[in-house]
Symmetry: C2
Subunit: 232 residues, 2 copies
């Protein structure tokens, strides 16, 4: 919600992003905490009158993560009337000494477009927005209570991610460009929240003909070094 003032936004419409990252073990998402409020929320924002919704979301992700060219997928629009939450919004504005009438439109009912992003955890420098004093990674099974229906948005994003993971082969976006078979398997396990068989997984992935094999990765461990792969 950077630079809210003096902009022409589409009224009653916002976007929210569930930004997924994988730290090597756990699937995590980026959560903002608003200044002096104890209110947690998904990164999001508004859409300018001459801006596509996709571009607005892209820009939002870039501002929070510093990343360009991120895998970003719009998955749902949340359009219940009960979404309006003037109380929380007032607390955020008040905490920022922003009681101007010109921002009172933020108290109205909003429909929000849900996006999920998959990013390479290592490359990110999380940056809070103008109303927030912190932004951080939270494991998906240790989320705080989020404002409005944001927990619900996360839940839906996770469902969509799970069903898209194998079908659309998007797991790569959570990894560096080169990775081992084990890393890839751990991404699948973290997203699907279930253990997979090593041999079956390996055979499946190789048979899909989507991986390119590179040099081995020597980790200084007392065992055979694994090959590295990248997606074709």
């Amino acid at each position: 919600m950077k630079g809210l003032k003096n902009k022409n936004f589409i009224p009653n419409l916002s976007f929210d992003c569930v930004i997924f990252g994988f730290n090597g073990k756990l699937l995590k998402i980026l959560i903002l905490e608003y200044q002096n409020t104890g209110v947690y929320a998904l990164p999001g924002g508004f859409i300018e009158i001459d801006q596509s919704i996709d571009d607005a979301a892209k820009q939002g992700v870039k501002e929070r993560t510093g990343l360009d060219n991120v895998y970003l997928d719009q998955f749902y629009i949340f359009g219940n009337v009960e979404r309006a939450d003037p109380d929380h919004m007032k607390r955020i504005l008040t905490a920022n000494n922003d009681n101007t009438k010109e921002n009172s439109w933020m108290l109205e009912r909003f429909n929000t477009v849900g996006y999920y992003a998959l990013i390479n955890y290592e490359e990110v420098s999380p940056t809070p927005d103008e109303y927030s004093d912190s932004i951080g990674w939270y494991a998906i099974d240790e989320l705080p209570k989020l404002m409005m229906d944001h927990n619900n948005i996360v839940e839906k994003a996770l469902q969509v991610l799970r069903s898209n993971l194998s079908e659309k082969l998007i797991g790569m976006n959570l990894l560096p460009s080169k990775f081992t078979m084990k890393q890839l398997q751990m991404v699948f396990e973290a997203v699907l929240d279930q253990k997979l068989r090593r041999t079956t997984f390996q055979r499946k992935m190789l048979s899909l003909d989507i991986l390119e094999r590179h040099e081995k990765l020597f980790q200084g461990k007392a065992h055979k070094a694994p090959y590295q792969y990248s997606f074709k």
Copy 2:
């Protein structure tokens, strides 16, 4: 777009419905033709300020088809800036002798929420809206050129329907409550646009444990009569 005047709509937001029906052989969708314009479009409408988007779409489907309790799924929001199409819209308003300033907001940029509906073809009485003089079924591979990006919306709806058909088992919604295995197979074939093996399909459907078997259907044909089924 019934009763546009004197209503409080959410600005810059609309919905459009791809209403699928199956006539026994072909997958079809409902298309409107606007009066005296030669402009074809998907049924759609606007959302009242105190109405959920889902409810608005539900109401829209009911007005066009007469049907309640329809399978309805929101699948995407189309939010490109280029969606605005003031020329077409002006033609529609002019053809209806509606040059009032109060409806000039319809010329602005709109984001539209895409829904697809699956209905029982036999139960429908298609009804045009206040700006249209005809509504009719068109086979999905014989669509006219639709206004704005509506052809694109149909294309995306079809993609989503195809990927949801087996996964979510929603084929039933295109059939009467009782149907034969052959009818069900023809729905799958029409949606997926490919031939399926009879024995494999039958075995698969029965193994899913979602069908209830009823009395046979005697069609007066010189061969064994098929059982009828319904979904559990």
